[in-house]
């Protein structure tokens, strides 16, 4: 491993789930790179495979899942070949995760102090030192009076405070990669803004990359350097955040951006129709032979119905899985 090795490199990953109806192909040929010191956003709607993807990275997939193809490398190490010890080291130290629901992420019957000390079990320091680190980290994420409050239990904290604690716990082991899975979905907008600012500040101070998963385009725009757009188990577009938001090349990315009410010019409640994406997600147990988005695509043409398109490289790290992506 050297300084140019990406933190995370996923190449051609395909994952399917065995079901009574046959295999559900939840991820197909997914490739993405999280370089050092970058914030990479994964954006997509329900059913796009975001959760399956992050579960694959930490090898937390359900027992009926199989990796059909592809590789996952974490700082150069093959995650799919890791044994139990290496996996534990990955999950507990090298990568950390902040979950969507701060209400269920903390253990309700164990004090915050105990949870934050326990999570440092790989650190050989005396307990007092671990506690001091935990207190310092709580202060860093904006918990008032951390010396006293650390002995409290999760139910004594509000949702926003619990998410701050979850972030503090994730950072205690100085992970190389912080995976945040919709970390603000359960929070009100003023708290969401605070948590996003906290994540941005943390990024500035701490070494490490962030993989930020969200369906909220505004948060992705605010926080991320690079963006990966997923649809129905495929990466349909990836690029620099400005490329994605200012010059999207995949029709799905364009439609998704167009649907965001925050981007639609004000109608003053006049009731102008809001844009939508017609149709629904394809059945991942019976995939069409066409481009996965063709049935809903307003620009689909005859060639879109024959075979899935390959990723088209548009230069400067921008790529889109659309036969028309290279055209203007």
């Amino acid at each position: 491993m050297n300084a140019t090795t990406p933190i995370l490199e996923i190449a051609g990953l395909s994952v399917s789930f065995a079901t009574p109806r046959g295999p559900v192909r939840a991820l197909r040929d997914v490739s993405l790179v999280v370089p050092r010191d970058r914030v990479v956003g994964i954006v997509g709607e329900s059913g796009c495979g975001k959760t399956t993807l992050i579960s694959s990275i930490l090898r937390l997939l359900a027992p009926n899942a199989t990796v059909d193809a592809g590789s996952i490398r974490f700082e150069g190490d093959d995650v799919l070949a890791m044994g139990n010890t290496a996996l534990q080291h990955l999950r507990g130290g090298r990568a950390a995760m902040v979950f969507q629901d701060p209400m269920s992420a903390l253990n309700p019957v164990v004090s915050i102090a105990r949870q934050m000390i326990d999570i440092q079990f790989r650190n050989g320091a005396p307990k007092a030192e671990k506690r001091a680190r935990a207190v310092a980290m709580l202060r860093r994420v904006g918990i008032p009076d951390p010396e006293e409050r650390i002995d409290g239990y999760a139910h004594r904290f509000s949702g926003g405070m619990r998410q701050r604690i979850a972030i503090a716990m994730a950072l205690l082991m100085n992970p190389a990669l912080l995976i945040a899975d919709e970390p603000t979905t359960a929070l009100d907008v003023t708290l969401e803004a605070q948590i996003v600012r906290l994540i941005r500040d943390i990024k500035r101070d701490l070494a490490g990359s962030i993989l930020f998963v969200s369906h909220n385009l505004g948060l992705i725009a605010e926080l991320c350097d690079e963006v990966v757009v997923m649809y129905a188990g495929e990466v349909v577009e990836r690029g620099d955040v400005r490329q994605i938001f200012h010059a999207p090349r995949h029709p799905y990315t364009r439609l998704l951006l167009a649907c965001d009410p925050a981007r639609i010019p004000e109608s003053g409640g006049a009731g102008a129709a809001l844009p939508t994406i017609k149709g629904g997600l394809p059945d991942l147990a019976a995939l069409p032979s066409s481009c996965i988005f063709a049935p809903r695509c307003p620009d689909a043409e005859a060639r879109c119905l024959h075979g899935a398109p390959a990723m088209v490289d548009l230069g400067a790290g921008h790529a889109a899985r659309c036969v028309r992506a290279g055209n203007d």
Binding site: E45, T190, A193, A262
Partner: protein, 331 residues
């Protein structure tokens, strides 16, 4: 009746929850055993109008609408519907009125009984209100057509529906008895952006076709900006600002309104947030701050705000604000 245009009028409404019993309250000294989840709310809704009620968790917006439709008892205040005051909220007297108010609940899947088919669910309001159903098959088909669902879903169960479909079933149930007012609690919560437009467009179409009025409760400012011409912002059980949506977004009067708008992330990497973020969180109703309830988080709070609660006052252009130092007035 002077208020002929008003479909709904709420005056100084209070909803009070008991936090602990009388004995414990006595033992704890003179600590007030009640909290006011809705603490003096007045609002009106014209025929054909859509009113958006916006607030964060704990602002009392859901309690407010539950009180209006009679699911929660009110402690004080008066409610008029269609010019007549709702006084007797006991079942027999209230039910004919209640029939004219449709309700869309927040979580569409949880609000549908998992053991009933869609057919049974959309026809349930007729049974509950003992309304002549006519031909059940025709009625069910009509309702499905109205909300744009295929008839084949009539025999499905709620768990087989997508979020958007469940939401449409909720619309069909709310509109089954042809109400005049529909109250929608977070109609787009949990929906993907590509689907939430469909639901809002459907609601707008039905409003025009059936002459409905809406009260839409949400925390989603970008959505409410597009669906309601008038807006009320709630904070800790009170309305802090009310007026035309366009004006509230262009030049908010209350510092809380400004902070809410500023907190919405901009979907543009080159458009950074401008206004300072709010610090802290919504306080507990048990410890409602003295004076203006917003003063501990208000960047513009002054001494007067700490001791004296601001009254709601009328500003220009049909706007109202409860603030000693409204923003536009300072410019």
């Amino acid at each position: 009746m002077t208020d002929d245009a008003r479909l709904l009028r709420v005056e100084d409404l209070h909803v009070r929850f008991r936090t602990h019993g009388a004995l414990r309250a006595a033992m704890a000294g003179n600590r007030d055993p009640f909290l006011d989840a809705v603490a003096g709310i007045s609002l009106t809704l014209d025929r054909g109008e859509t009113l958006g009620i916006v607030g964060e968790s704990g602002s009392g917006k859901t309690t407010l609408i539950r009180a209006i439709i009679g699911l929660t008892d009110i402690a004080a205040g008066r409610i008029w519907f269609d010019g007549a005051e709702i006084i007797d909220r006991r079942d027999a007297a209230f039910r004919p009125l209640r029939r004219q108010i449709g309700m869309m609940f927040q979580d569409p899947v949880a609000s549908l009984s998992p053991r009933k088919t869609v057919r049974s669910l959309v026809l349930e309001p007729f049974r509950i209100h003992d309304v002549e159903l006519g031909e059940p098959e025709t009625r069910a088909d009509e309702l499905m057509d109205m909300v744009g669902l295929p008839h084949t879903l009539l025999d499905s169960y709620p768990h087989q529906l997508s979020g958007g479909q469940a939401r449409r079933v909720g619309v069909a149930r709310a509109l089954a008895l042809r109400p005049r007012l529909v109250i929608a609690d977070e109609p787009t919560a949990g929906l993907d952006v590509s689907v939430q437009g469909e639901i809002l467009n459907l609601m707008a179409r039905l409003r025009d076709a059936l002459g409905l009025s809406y009260v839409i409760v949400t925390h989603n400012l970008p959505v409410i900006r597009h669906v309601s011409a008038r807006l009320a912002i709630m904070y800790l059980g009170r309305i802090v600002e009310e007026g035309p949506t366009r004006a509230a977004f262009a030049a908010p009067l209350h510092p809380y309104t400004r902070a809410l708008i500023a907190a919405v992330p901009r979907p543009d990497p080159d458009d950074a947030r401008s206004a300072p973020l709010l610090t802290g969180e919504v306080p507990s109703l048990r410890d409602r701050p003295a004076g203006c309830a917003f003063h501990p988080r208000c960047p513009a709070a002054q001494q007067r705000c700490r001791v004296e609660a601001p009254a709601m006052r009328a500003m220009s252009d049909a706007r109202r604000v409860a603030c000693h130092f409204p923003l536009a007035a300072q410019r």
